[in-house]
Structures are given as structure tokens and as C-alpha cells.
């Protein structure tokens, strides 16, 4: 059954069971997000997609749409908060865009551009994170991990492998790999896995291929993140 709610004044239709972000994407309205991916169960952890529903903040990827909801998204206040969250993600890890292969195709970077982030603002944490280059085909650069858990969900729910998981707590939360050695080479991971394709940043990378697309022709060079189709995300 179809109903509607309003999103920044615009009437948005939805069907029962749809979340706010699903209904918004279907109506062609972009809500910034990083841990949300239309093909996976929502996680609700990055909080970038937070909107105000009837005046109260809530993550739009986990909140089901309801008839008559008044949703605010593109306001100066909410975008300032989203910008601060993006800055937090930048200082938490080690994100050096100019030398990163994912630059131009990175959702974190594209979101920062979209939100008008001009600096990291906070002091960098500069965490010490080792790189895992053990696997013959793929490289894991944990420096860039934003803990969105998309690879965890893809490996578990699509590939049926559980190659990835999260361990630790708080600021020490980190991605782990399903092997006693902790090394990707000792798992059954392959480049054909869904998990190899969903990383929104530059953690899971194909080896022996970098900077293949010239500057100017990369994904977000051509169109900002707000205009790219949901289903192509992470490719």
C-alpha cells in the first residue's frame, strides 16, 4: 500500500516497510550515507544519513517511513553535523587522498566534497595500523577503514564466507579477518566475492592495478556523489 511523507517539503511516496532513505532514493532524493548500501541490511552506524523526523534526529537508513512524517534533511544544521561526522572519520584513520588509489572513486572523499568539508578540523589521531598484503590478488589497507561493516555483511550474507568481522571496542574497534594467522591469504577470499566490491573507501584493493583511471575521468570527477546511481556504489 502506498503512502507519503514530506522530505524538505517535497512529497515522497513510500510503500509499507520502506525506510526513509529507501523511499528518498526511489524518489531521486540523495541523503548522504556511508554504511548504508541498498543491497544490504541497514547497519545504522555511520550516522551520516541522520535526518530530523518530526523534529527529532534519527538515522534514515534504519527508520521506517510512516504516513505524514515531516522529514528534514538538507538543512544547514544537519549538514553541519554531517560534515563534523565526516571530519571525525578523516581524523580517526589515516586518509591521504593524494596518494590513495581510491581517490576520485571514494565515497568518503566524495561525501566530504558534497558537504563542503574544507579541512579535517580536529587533530589527527594518526593510528598505527598494519597493512595486510598477504593475499595474492588483494591488498587490505586498514588505515582507511571507516568501520561501515559493508564487507562484513557482504561476505556473511552474500558470499556465505564470513571473511571479515569487527573486533575490539570503542576507538579500538577494528576489522579482522577470518584466519588464525589474521592474514587474508589464509582465508577463502577471492576477488570475485561481493565483499571485494563493496568497500566505500580504499581498504580492499585489487593488487597490481592502481590509478588506472586518469584524473578527470574517475567516478566522482564526472558527477558528484549526490547524482550517482545507488546501485553502482562501491564499484
Amino acid at each position: 500500500m502506498s503512502h507519503t511523507f514530506t522530505l524538505d517539503g517535497k512529497v515522497v511516496p513510500f510503500v509499507d516497510g520502506q525506510t526513509i532513505i529507501q523511499a528518498a532514493s526511489a524518489a531521486g532524493v540523495f541523503i548522504p550515507h556511508l554504511c548504508y548500501h541498498p543491497e544490504f541490511k541497514p547497519h545504522g552506524s555511520c550516522k551520516l544519513c541522520t535526518v530530523k523526523v518530526n523534529g527529532r534526529h534519527t538515522a534514515s537508513c534504519t527508520m521506517r517511513a510512516a504516513p505524514g512524517m515531516v522529514v528534514e534533511s538538507e538543512t544547514e544544521e544537519i549538514n553541519a553535523e554531517r560534515r563534523a561526522l565526516t571530519q571525525m572519520l578523516f581524523v580517526e584513520g589515516n586518509h591521504f587522498c593524494p596518494s590513495c588509489e581510491k581517490s576520485g572513486n571514494c565515497q568518503l572523499q566524495a561525501t566530504a566534497y558534497h558537504l563542503g568539508m574544507m579541512s579535517a578540523h580536529y587533530d589527527h589521531f594518526f593510528p598505527n595500523r598494519a597493512v595486510d598484503a598477504s593475499h595474492p590478488e588483494a591488498l587490505l589497507d586498514f588505515n582507511r577503514c571507516i568501520l561501515c561493516s559493508l564487507c562484513v555483511r557482504a561476505s556473511r550474507d552474500v558470499d556465505g564466507k564470513n571473511v571479515f568481522g569487527l573486533s575490539g571496542r570503542g576507538i579500538k574497534t577494528h576489522l579482522i579477518v577470518n584466519a588464525k594467522s589474521g592474514q587474508l591469504a589464509d582465508t577463502d577470499f577471492t576477488l570475485a566475492d561481493k565483499a571485494a566490491q563493496v568497500c566505500p573507501v580504499g581498504v580492499i584493493l585489487k593488487k597490481r592495478q592502481g590509478f588506472a583511471v586518469p584524473i578527470g575521468e574517475r567516478k566522482y570527477d564526472k558527477a558528484p556523489i549526490s547524482e550517482t546511481a545507488e546501485t553502482t556504489e562501491g564499484r
Binding site: S45, L48, N162, G165, I176
Partner: protein, 627 residues
């Protein structure tokens, strides 16, 4: 330990938990009790026996502070590091033990015998400083006792052979009222609840209710629920949700095939400064278990859990003995009190050092053997709780009160306290006073009254309800403890005028940073940013700019965080800035700008490595910050 011996331990533990992966945390905890840590071979075996991926086991093990996937020594000493422990001198004692044992704080000794670290409040604030040794609590530490403990460790004396006096924890009940003085015999409340049924069809209606949890209006259970509603009882864990409404929502929730209703007692008393649940469980466990059974009766639940915080591990054996005794008396098990179909039993799960598990949905995740991450809500636990079944989670004190209401009636209870806050509240008093301990008052008692009763003088401030509560200054001492004024989960931490309120706030900020679950960005990163800001002020590098930053962080955490931990993480700082501004101002070296970088402080690692701390190892600075 050899791999085969480890496998033997794992097999024994896992079989006792029926190879049930939802008992993962309990399995990890018990394997560690036998092996001193959780070695990779144990995880190999768990993976094979439980059929779950290694990432899941390591993910759970890595979440809880008290589970170690790296060796931490045969003796694992953790000093309680609440602000009250600090005030009682825990830092000097920790240095003393480290010096005695030649071990660096946070590290394992070179012979692999012992590690010394710190942990969040262990709930021994009225008899601190406290510590945990292999998760067993020791209170009232002194320099002499520290030296004795060092000797015992050096002599490799097994913990079981240490003097029993070390492990004695006092109840320190200073004022008792309807709960702590309860005139109650086990079973009485259940019989009273049953007797509330209309005389006709007593057994049939009860059986239907318990089995199927049918809506109200069918005798005993419905009448019991009505009494709880009439009493006006509100949750004692801090949030104050109306207990009757919660129970009713759970009772009315549709049961799916094969599902049952669940009663959970939240004994994960982690809020620094709170220790009243420890005393309730040690002094009147029967009252608490009876309250849970009354709840089960009222909502039609058949399974119950107590989630006991890891710091209270020492209570486990006693509590299990009480449960066994209740089973013998037919107060638990099948056909309770001879009522056909009245089936209910309770098992105890022990936490492992994660404050966030006090949040009800995180607690349920932990009960299911997962990482203690709060869930997305709705749906709420009353409809989709433990293993997706209708679940109520209530505080220890709430269940104790429910038992007394079942026994004496809702009207009796509603007549105690204030109009909006019925009944009594048990307060955990600690800090600067003559008589720290447990005080039970009818709601409506003023802060001033409590201070007078516990012998506090020259009081500067009281932190009510711990770091996530509020800091009350002298001009507010006539305010009252009640939901309509100052609600509290029970902590009442007193600071006299010699205390530095900035350091109080900084201690609390460190606590939140350590306990953030790390799930959502704002809390995971924001609590670390806040900690860094407070440390910057502490080192004398603060500027007015930092106040603006703290205020901005507060707004962000309030609006974007996933759960209450993030929402309240800035409270202690904002409260103390508003009420004790001079404590902050004296740390402002310049009003316009002060660099955060301090070259001399950066050399501290080099000083530590070379073992030097003389004047020559320091750079001369214009203004010496505190270190």
C-alpha cells in the same frame, strides 16, 4: 597449557553450555578462568565445536575488557579507577604494587606471572580503593595490604589460598526502609499474587496465562499486573519508565510459534559510584528472584536471566545456591507453588567488563553471546527482545520493589514517597563523608538531608547518578531525589571543597571514552576527541576556544549518537563548566591562543625509556603544565 589440555577445558565448558553459541560470552569467560586467557587453540576448538566463524568468536572476545586473547599473566590485577578510588589514593597504591613486582603499568611482567592495570569503577566506592584479582574483588586496599599481595603473587600462592579477609565485601547498610528491612519470607509474594485471582477457575486461568500470556482480565496474573500499575512503580535503573506499562506491553505482545516470554534482571551495575544492586543481591537475593518470578507470573514468562556484571563475579556461587534452594522449595521450576503450568526458571549470565551492556538492548545482545552493541530501535525488547522474543528488562531494585508490591499491594506502595515518585530509592553514598554506604529513603529526600545523614561537611558538590547524571552544587542542595526533580539510578558521590572538580569531570570523560562501544561514529570518535580536549586542559594548554569545541561536540553527540552513552558523555564537562568555571579558568594559560603541542611532554617517552626524570632530562618551558 598444551593444546590438548586447552581443548579438554573447552570441551568441558561447551558441553555444559549445551554447545549453545548464544552462551559464547559465558564460554569465553569460563575458558579464561581455567586457562588464564583465551589462547588461539581454544578459539580453534570453539570454532569447531560451536560451528561459528572465528571472526565471530574473536569479535566477541575483543569487545569485553575482561576477556584476553593475549596472555595477561597468572595474576591479573586491575585497580578500580573511579574518581572515589582516586580520592582514596589508588594511584599511589598501583605504583607501589608495580614497583614491588617490577612490572610496568598495563604490561605483563617479563616472567609472564602478573599484569597490573586499571579498570572502571568496581562498585566498592564505600570501601575503596578496590581492585580485582582474576576478576575477584578486594576492597579497602592499603599500603600494607599491597605489600602482602605482592608477596603472595611473588610466592605464586593460588588465589584460593589468599586470606579470606581480603575478599570480604561489606554491605554498609546505614539506612534501611521497605526493601532493605523487608519483612519477607521466600514464597510469600508469590502466594499473595496467586491469591489475588478471583476464586472461580483459578488454576485454569493461571495456566492459560502463563502458557500463552493472554491479555489481562483473567485472574491472578492480571490482578498482579494491576497492582504493579496501581503502585506507580517506575524503573530503578535511571530512566524511570513505568514498570506496569512495560510489563503490560510484553504481556500483550504476540508470541510466535516456539517463542516464550523472557524476564531479564539487569544487574550490570556499571554506573561509576553505584553499588546498591551489589548490596541488594548480597543481602536479599530471594526478594529479587521473587520479584522476577512475580513478573514472570504477571506477564506469562517461562525463562529468566540475571545479567550480573563481571565485577560481581564473587557473588555468583552464592546466588546460584539461592536459586538452587528456591528450586528445592518449588519457588522456581515446574508448577511453581503447586500451580499447574506455572513454569519459570532463572539462570545467571556474568558480564565481562563492558559498561554499555547496562543499556537494555546491548544487554540482550550480550545475553545472546554477541558484542554488546545497542540495537536499532524500534522494535523494542518488549516485543522483540532476547532471541527476538518478548522480553522485559528491569533493574535489580525494581524487581525487589515488585515483590513487595505483590505482597502488600499497589496502594500501600503508592502511599510511600512523593506523588509522582512512589516508593523508596536506595542510594549508594560515597566520597567525602563520615559514613559512606547504602541509604534507603522514601522518594523526596533532599540532597541536604542525605549529606547530613552520612556526615558530609564542607561539601562542594554531589554527583548524582554518576557521570551520566548531574553535578549538584551547594546552592541546589535543597533539591530532592525524585523523578520530578533529580532522578537517579542510585549513585551519590560527594566532593568536599578541597576537590578539583575539573579532575572529576576528566575522570568521567576518560570513563566514557573507554566504555564507548565504538559502533557509531559520533560516540566512538567524539568521546576520544573530548578526552583529548580535557587532557589538553589538564596539561595547561587550554584556551577559551576549547570551551566552544566542547559545546559543539556536546551538541553533535546529543543529536547523532546511537544510544544514551553518547548522549550523556559530555554532561559532566558541561555541568562542571557551568558550575565550577574557576576550576577550568585556572588551566587557561593564555586567553587568546595556546599551542596544544608541548615539546617537553613529547619527550616523556624518551625519559621513560632512559629511566631519567631529573632536571637535565627536561626542557625549560615558560609555563610548566601539570603532568
Amino acid at each position: 597449557m598444551h593444546a590438548e589440555a586447552v581443548a579438554g577445558v573447552v570441551d568441558r565448558v561447551i558441553n555444559r553450555y549445551r554447545r549453545d553459541p548464544t552462551c559464547m560470552l559465558q564460554i569465553l569467560r569460563e575458558v579464561q578462568e581455567a586457562c588464564d586467557w583465551v589462547p588461539p587453540e581454544a578459539i580453534d576448538r570453539m570454532q569447531a565445536m560451536l560451528g561459528v566463524p572465528r571472526t565471530k568468536i574473536e569479535g566477541v572476545a575483543g569487545f569485553y575488557s575482561f576477556i584476553y586473547t593475549e596472555p595477561r599473566g597468572k595474576y591479573r590485577v586491575l585497580f578500580s579507577d573511579n574518581i572515589t578510588d582516586r580520592m582514596q589514593g589508588n594511584r599511589a597504591l598501583m605504583e607501589r604494587l608495580c614497583g614491588n613486582l617490577w612490572v610496568e603499568r598495563g604490561k605483563v611482567s617479563e616472567d609472564g606471572l602478573v599484569s597490573v592495570g586499571k579498570t572502571a569503577c568496581t562498585g566498592l566506592c564505600d570501601q575503596g580503593p578496590g581492585m580485582l584479582v582474576n576478576n575477584y574483588a578486594i576492597a579497602g586496599l592499603s599500603a600494607e595490604r599491597i605489600d602482602e599481595i605482592a608477596e603472595l603473587i611473588r610466592g605464586k600462592v593460588p588465589l584460593a589460598e589468599w586470606p579470606p579477609a581480603y575478599f570480604r565485601i561489606e554491605d554498609n547498610i546505614r539506612r534501611a526502609d521497605i526493601l532493605l528491612n523487608a519483612d519477607f519470607k521466600p514464597g510469600e509474594a508469590l502466594l499473595a499474587a496467586r491469591a489475588r485471582a478471583p476464586s472461580d477457575g483459578l488454576n485454569a486461568s493461571n495456566m492459560r496465562s502463563w502458557r500463552e500470556g493472554l491479555p489481562s482480565g483473567i485472574g491472578g496474573p492480571g490482578a498482579t499486573l494491576d497492582e504493579i500499575k496501581r503502585s506507580g512503580l517506575r524503573g530503578r535503573g535511571g530512566a524511570g519508565f513505568t514498570t506496569g506499562l512495560k510489563w503490560e506491553a510484553c504481556r500483550n505482545a504476540q508470541l510466535k510459534a516456539g517463542h516464550q516470554r523472557i524476564v531479564v534482571c539487569n544487574a550490570d551495575e556499571g554506573e561509576p559510584g553505584t553499588f546498591k544492586d551489589r548490596v541488594l543481591l548480597s543481602k536479599c537475593p530471594d526478594l529479587v528472584f521473587e520479584g522476577m518470578t512475580v513478573a514472570a507470573y504477571a506477564i506469562g514468562a517461562t525463562r529468566g536471566f540475571v545479567y550480573l556484571r563481571g565485577e560481581y563475579r564473587y557473588l555468583l556461587d552464592h546466588l546460584n545456591a539461592v536459586l538452587a534452594n528456591r528450586r528445592r522449595q518449588n519457588l522456581l521450576g515446574k508448577d511453581i507453588c503447586g500451580l499447574p503450568g506455572a513454569d519459570f526458571d532463572i539462570e545467571i549470565h556474568v558480564g565481562a567488563g563492558a559498561y554499555v551492556c547496562g543499556e537494555e538492548s546491548a544487554l540482550i545482545e550480550s545475553l545472546e553471546g554477541k558484542r554488546g552493541t545497542p540495537r536499532n530501535r524500534p522494535p523494542f525488547p518488549v516485543t522483540n527482545g532476547y532471541l527476538d522474543q518478548p522480553t522485559i528488562v528491569n533493574n535489580v531494585e525494581t524487581f525487589a520493589a515488585a515483590a513487595m508490591i505483590a505482597l502488600k499491594g499497589g496502594e500501600w506502595y503508592a502511599g510511600i514517597g512523593t506523588k509522582q515518585s512512589a516508593g523508596t530509592k536506595i542510594i549508594s553514598v560515597s566520597g567525602d563523608c563520615e559514613r559512606p554506604g547504602i541509604y534507603e529513603y522514601p522518594f523526596g529526600v533532599s540532597i541536604r538531608q542525605v549529606l547530613e545523614d552520612c556526615g558530609a561537611t564542607d561539601t562542594q558538590a554531589v554527583q548524582v547518578s554518576g557521570p551520566s547524571g548531574i553535578c549538584v552544587a551547594e546552592d541546589e542542595f535543597d533539591r530532592i531525589i525524585a523523578f520530578e526533580d533529580i532522578p537517579t539510578a542510585g549513585a551519590f558521590t560527594i566532593f568536599n571543597k578541597s576537590r578539583d572538580m575539573f579532575e572529576v569531570a576528566r575522570n568521567y570523560v576518560h570513563f566514557f571514552q573507554h566504555e564507548s562501544c565504538g559502533f557509531c561514529t559520533p560516540c566512538r570518535v567524539g568521546t576520544s576527541l573530548l578526552k583529548n580536549l580535557m587532557d589538553k586542559l589538564h596539561y595547561g594548554s587550554g584556551s577559551p576556544y576549547d570551551f566552544a569545541e566542547i559545546e559543539k561536540l556536546n551538541q553533535l553527540l546529543q543529536s547523532m549518537s546511537h544510544c544514551g552513552l553518547g548522549h550523556t558523555a559530555c554532561n559532566p564537562v558541561l555541568d562542571t563548566i557551568a558550575k565550577f568555571r574557576p576550576a577550568y579558568d585556572k588551566r587557561m594559560m593564555q586567553q587568546d591562543f595556546t599551542p596544544a603541542f608541548d615539546l617537553d611532554r613529547e619527550l616523556s617517552a624518551a625519559r621513560q625509556m632512559t629511566g631519567r626524570d631529573d632536571a637535565g632530562a627536561h626542557l625549560a618551558t615558560e609555563h610548566g603544565g601539570q603532568s
